[in-house]
Symmetry: C2
Subunit: 422 residues, 2 copies
Amino acid sequence: TRRRLFRRIHGLVVAFLIKLWTFFIKAWNIGVNDPRKFIHCLKVGTALSLVSLFYYMRTLYQGVGGNAMWAVMTVVVVFEYSIGATLYKCVNRATGTLLAGSLGFGVHWIAIQCGENIQPIILEISVFLLAAAATFSRFIPTVKARFDYGAMVFILTFCLVSISGYRVDQLFGMAHHRLLTVALGASICIITSMLVCPIWAGQELHTLINRNLEKLSESLDGCVTDFFADKDVINVSNGYPNKMNQAYKCVLNSKGSEESMANFARWEPAHGDFKFRHPWKQYLKVGAAIRSCAYCIETLNGCINSDIRAPETLKKHLKDMCVKLSSYSSNVIKELAIIMKTMTKSPSIHISIGQMNVAVHELQDALKNVPNQVVVQILQASNDGMKGETTNTRPLLEILPLATVASLLVELAARIEVIVKE
Amino acid sequence: TRRRLFRRIHGLVVAFLIKLWTFFIKAWNIGVNDPRKFIHCLKVGTALSLVSLFYYMRTLYQGVGGNAMWAVMTVVVVFEYSIGATLYKCVNRATGTLLAGSLGFGVHWIAIQCGENIQPIILEISVFLLAAAATFSRFIPTVKARFDYGAMVFILTFCLVSISGYRVDQLFGMAHHRLLTVALGASICIITSMLVCPIWAGQELHTLINRNLEKLSESLDGCVTDFFADKDVINVSNGYPNKMNQAYKCVLNSKGSEESMANFARWEPAHGDFKFRHPWKQYLKVGAAIRSCAYCIETLNGCINSDIRAPETLKKHLKDMCVKLSSYSSNVIKELAIIMKTMTKSPSIHISIGQMNVAVHELQDALKNVPNQVVVQILQASNDGMKGETTNTRPLLEILPLATVASLLVELAARIEVIVKE
């Protein structure tokens, strides 16, 4: 029995180790795919080591005293992945602390004037009211977007100042020291995040929108090619084209990250090709347009995977036009991506749009000509045929709104260029 | 000039006051629309007042000492809107603090054994390594979902313990006091959030999914009715039906909130009709299915708003079938909503699904019969007619995948019921 027990424990340990190992492999791959994540971790470590130096150096420690704790806390809480997020938190923390600190002093002064008996009551009531008000302000969308963290810091600081004022005598000196250490921690954060491999939220947003555009054109191409490909070919190369088609899926749910990035980007100073007050809101609009294109592709993809298949004759008739239209459309999207990347106006985009519009008209004409050529044939094999026609007109139907959305995208992009150029 | 200056200042002040007033009105309406937000604010105020009592009562203060600050901090940081979120933060804070505290003591002990000169170096290196590792763990999706806050608390506590251990002698006593106060703050949070008007994340998720189902059926009805309505009628009643049609828009982007709610719901104990370990993941699946339906409606809506109009003859021919199908589909969705609400299996859902499938077949048959009746007529007015047919087959094309998705939804819902029933 002893051996059995040993074996069992051994098995459990091995299973656990294997699980741990696969987890590590996964984690490692996350870092390898985006080495900036590793660098970010090292940056956090460096900033914390710098701050903790204040404890070890005797001369530094005497300057700051036991309040050095607040510098450590600030670094841990404020340091974020992108510079915009770090700046947002720093600014929020600073304003929240200052506002709450001065208010706290004011309330404290009033409470002292009222005598010792009423003092705690006044402090209690003020804490209750201001905490409730600040909490409520976090529900307001505009405040939440810009000052959510600030409101929290406000509540925290106000409570600490007004409450500890009741027990601590040297309130002013303490507050002064704390502000100093918080500022110290915040400046260490900003310096390390800006100097070592800076990650700008604006740049990230720019890249994200760009990549989404590329994914969109890829999926569009892939979908239409799939639809018109022979069935056997699809089955053989099942893995690859499907992967291409799924690229749009992450476009569908990118709204949240786009919004938060645009939010952080607003706090960033000029960097790279972006000026301060770069029109980040335009990126959100372009993102929305891209998403509506992705919805169209989603539906189109659903049609491709449906059971009903078009008859080959009709497919062949429309194949050229559809492929042409989709390739022109994806061309437009690709050129949009290039325009976005370089932030310059290119004249060739108008040519591409013209080509796309011509292709739309050609496809419409081709559809008009379908019945004259094929309808008789269809009526003979009416059961199968009509089903076929319904299926076959789909790509056009899906591509039409897609084309309109694409032209909408073009408009938006043009608007951005105008603003960028200014 | 003095008068002019006075007027100008007066104007500015008035404009500012008006802006402030409209902002207040807006904020007030947010609260009026969802009174639980007001209640939440009052809860936060109450919890903070309770905690600050520890400063004012002399007997209580002597028990806790200056560490009462940590209780205040815990309440401010941990108190969240839903119970799930509060519990998530409490558990994370507790485990993070304990883990980091014990590790910090361990490192501290090792550092002391190594002698005074090497001590700060060892502490520095351990801070650097552990901070980097914990920061990296926040990038791993599974860790981020469940222990993001815990990782942050871990870094913070570890730094504080290992660093201040270098200067503070009575480290153990301090840690003991701090843990006590943190536990005190956390328990005050949990008690107030659970006793006064509890807001369960699970319940919220349940309601959200339910409301999304209802919105979906509304928009589906609205869209199809709009499409087949006379143009004049649409123009007259422009405001109302469009509002109905837009209901699905908020379904499109609900993924983020659904996921965070499901995440918080996992931490909640049994409440109401939900047991502990309720299958919250199923809700996410249902949510995804609802969203794919919403994508279809988005495309359908795009078709309705396009410029190309179907000829009236064809419209009339297909109107009945399309309206029938869509009303049956939305019926199924509505019944699904009822099933979700009551969490019981109802036999009538199968009847509704049957009706829907029959309607699908009828519509297909109707489409097959179109050419025999109308094609001749169309060929005479070929230009207009064929364009018309393309437009007119749209609703079917859009509804077909929608119907499949709806039946998929039904499957999912059935699965949920099975799990709920267990």
